[in-house]
């Protein structure tokens, strides 16, 4: 009897082993195209640019000499590069804040039940879907020092005094390029946030309301914790898009006036491609990498990992339907005890439990 049991258990184990191996092979086969794509189109160019940044390569020379960190030392000695670095940080942070604020506002407006909601939504995302060359050209006309439509309307409405030169004054030029970037980018933020909002269970919000939580309390203590993983991914995407946004500045100001709108991508383009100094251009382009890498790895990786089990990240059902709870549940406000009581057995708000399905209220 014992032998029979052993034999059966052995066969089962063997079957299980084969099944696991098959699943593994199948899994890796599914992953392979994406990995190959990443290696060929992201990995290779990245390592090639790393190689270029350590060489004196120029566009006309097939043979490059290894120069160590000479390019990096040289670019940090260049005042225009330092200005470009500062501008890049400013451009990214300020544009990011405005896109976040406007995106949130827009997302709230877009989830409201109003007539013609779909039409309004498609209008809102228009700036994001338009080719950048067309929108930049339109903005260039609006900022034109002689024929500026913004000035024309603003002066007549009494909102603008004088005739500001939007892309000719250093401070205004930076504001202008940020404005265009925000105009183009905030629909993306709105879409991301709308997706997040749809994942927030109504009963949690209702419980908050019953407990007397204000709009801002509900937003801070219920909505943000639930959509945090989505927010982070959206923020990461937006930061990368903004940091590498060459087109708007290239088309509007070309880095001027006096380098006031020069950012790292435009500087890298000018030096690496226009002037042909590939090595130095690559060094400029790679400067942000060591800064961004830990942010993406520790911040993005952990956040996404945490969010994987929760409905905020799309409500992925992991096998038996019991998703892993958040490692660190958000501390509930004293005013939200009722909300916490919705799922008292787990000690965490029910919204963060994978078993609770996402309710699409769209």
């Amino acid at each position: 009897m014992a032998d029979v049991e052993l034999a059966t258990a052995g066969r089962a184990a063997a079957r299980h082993g084969t099944f696991t191996r098959d699943r593994l092979v199948f899994g890796y086969a599914l992953l392979a195209p994406a990995v190959l794509y990443m290696c060929l189109l992201v990995g290779l160019p990245f390592f090639f640019s790393l190689y270029l940044s350590l060489s004196d390569a120029t566009v006309g020379s097939q043979v490059a000499r290894f120069v160590g960190l000479q390019n990096f030392v040289a670019i940090f000695q260049d005042s225009t590069f330092r200005l470009a670095l500062r501008n890049t940080v400013m451009f990214t942070v300020v544009a990011g804040i405005f896109k976040g604020l406007l995106g949130t506002l827009m997302a709230f407006l877009l989830i409201q039940e109003v007539a013609g909601r779909k039409f309004i939504r498609s209008l809102i995302v228009l700036p994001w879907t338009l080719p950048v060359a067309i929108s930049a050209l339109a903005w260039k006309w609006m900022f034109d020092p002689q024929f500026s439509a913004i000035n024309y309307v603003g002066v007549r409405l009494g909102l603008i005094h004088g005739w500001p030169n939007w892309i000719g004054e250093p401070s205004l030029a930076m504001a202008a390029v940020i404005a265009v970037n925000v105009w183009r980018g905030f629909p993306f933020a709105a879409i991301v946030l709308m997706a997040g909002f749809s994942a927030v269970p109504l009963e949690l919000l209702d419980a908050g309301k019953v407990d007397g939580a204000t709009f801002f309390h509900r937003y801070r203590y219920i909505v943000i914790p639930v959509i945090a993983p989505i927010l982070f991914v959206g923020l990461l995407f937006d930061t990368v898009f903004t940091l590498s946004d060459l087109s708007i500045i290239y088309l509007l100001t070309f880095g001027g006036p006096m380098g006031a709108t020069e950012i790292l991508p435009t500087r890298a383009f000018e030096i690496g491609i226009q002037a042909g100094a590939l090595g130095r251009g690559a060094a400029i382009a790679l400067v942000l990498f060591p800064i961004l890498l830990p942010v993406v790895y520790f911040g993005g990786g952990k956040r996404c990992e945490r969010g994987r089990g929760g409905p905020g990240a799309g409500g992925v059902d992991r096998g038996g339907g019991a998703a892993r709870p958040r490692a660190t549940p958000p501390a509930p406000s004293p005013r939200l005890r009722g909300a916490r009581a919705v799922c008292p057995d787990r000690g965490v708000p029910r919204v963060l439990d994978g078993r609770h399905r996402v309710q699409d209220r769209q």
């Binding site: 120029t58 020379s61 002037a275």
Partner: protein, 445 residues
Amino acid sequence: MDRVPRSRCRKRLSRRQLLTTAGAGVAGAALSRLAPWETGVAPAQIKGTTLRILTWSHFVPAYDTAFDKFVAEWGQANGVNARVDHIPIDQLPTRIASELSAGAGHDIFQMNGQIQTTLYYKNMVDVSDICEKLGKQYGGWIPMAKNVAVVDGGWHGLPEFYIAQPLLWRTDLFGEYGLKAPSTWEDLRQAAKIGKAKGHACGMAVSHCNDSNHNWRAVFYAFGVKETDPSGKEPTWDSKELREAMRFSKALYEEGMTSEVLSWDNVSDNRYLASGVAVWIHDAISAIRSIQDSNPKLYASVNIGCDGLEPRGAAGRAAVVDPTILAIWKFSKNQETAKAFLEHYGNNVQFSLVESKGYNLPYLKGWYKKPMPGVGDDPKVAKMQDWDKVAYVFGSPGPATAPAAEVLSTFVVPDMLTRYVRGEDLESAIKWGMDQIRNIYAKYK
């Protein structure tokens, strides 16, 4: 054995025979000009090959059509499948770089404005034989031609044409202000001062655009500024002439321009002239071509140049032009075809002058014989027939080297001037500019 009569061995030519023989010789010599190698008809080995040319989208759109036709006709006559691709001027450096990296692309490519022969010459076919032949045939090249095409003693591209950016001034406004025709930069400053007070400021871009690079260099050169030593290796910007030129430029900006020039691009001055506001601008003649039909009255009131040349400064007159060259990639499999086409173009420069309506100006001295085709027959642009006497290219008096091109493409000169006109101290603005220039040149040593 029959002997040949003595009289037949020493046959004497009659007068008639002499004239006939001489006539045949002259006719033969004349006809030889129509031989394939003289008319640009290529030898048989290029038949059946292909030729792809990369060039810009010309600011005179009709020229693109004419050039495509010119290439197609040559291709048809020689059994070559020839095609031209036009791209915006700003995209040329990027495309050239990517074609070299890929080792594939067009056979002939154009460098326009930003000449980088010194960077690419090892990958460009030596066309010295063609250039030297053309030079002999058409009275030699103007000095600037060598600055854009010759590296290490060899011609690595065919100087195609250059674009002048002359002074375009309003005769009606000058008359209204009681001013005589301008001759110097100082005259223009006075006119701009009066004009600005009456709502007719002048305009030259002080910004990140090509016009700004070339126009302010024209002022600086006229005040005696030299970018480099004759070898092109040592920058020589830092001088008392530069300080003098900067002071003049700031005065010109403050007295005669509005701050909108700080945000101008390459077409802003065209629009400014077309708006009827400008008392004068300094730009390519496309600015007046664009108003020729739309505003004939304004067109009639605009005059070109000073005394048939550029305005005079403390050291003389200078026009800093936008040069173009045509070059052949070494990786091209159709090098012979490409060389045959370059020779054909070099022998037919009149086509370029006529079809561009005087926008393209030649590098070969022979084409400056008055009246120049396409230029001399138009009274307005006929004043540019002596432009070869004042034409310079960036980097002068040295060649247009890679560091000189980088100084150009990173807009160091417009930025240095912007700093000064916006209130920065003269020495501080110059120090910033010289630091930038020194860093750039140091990189290429």
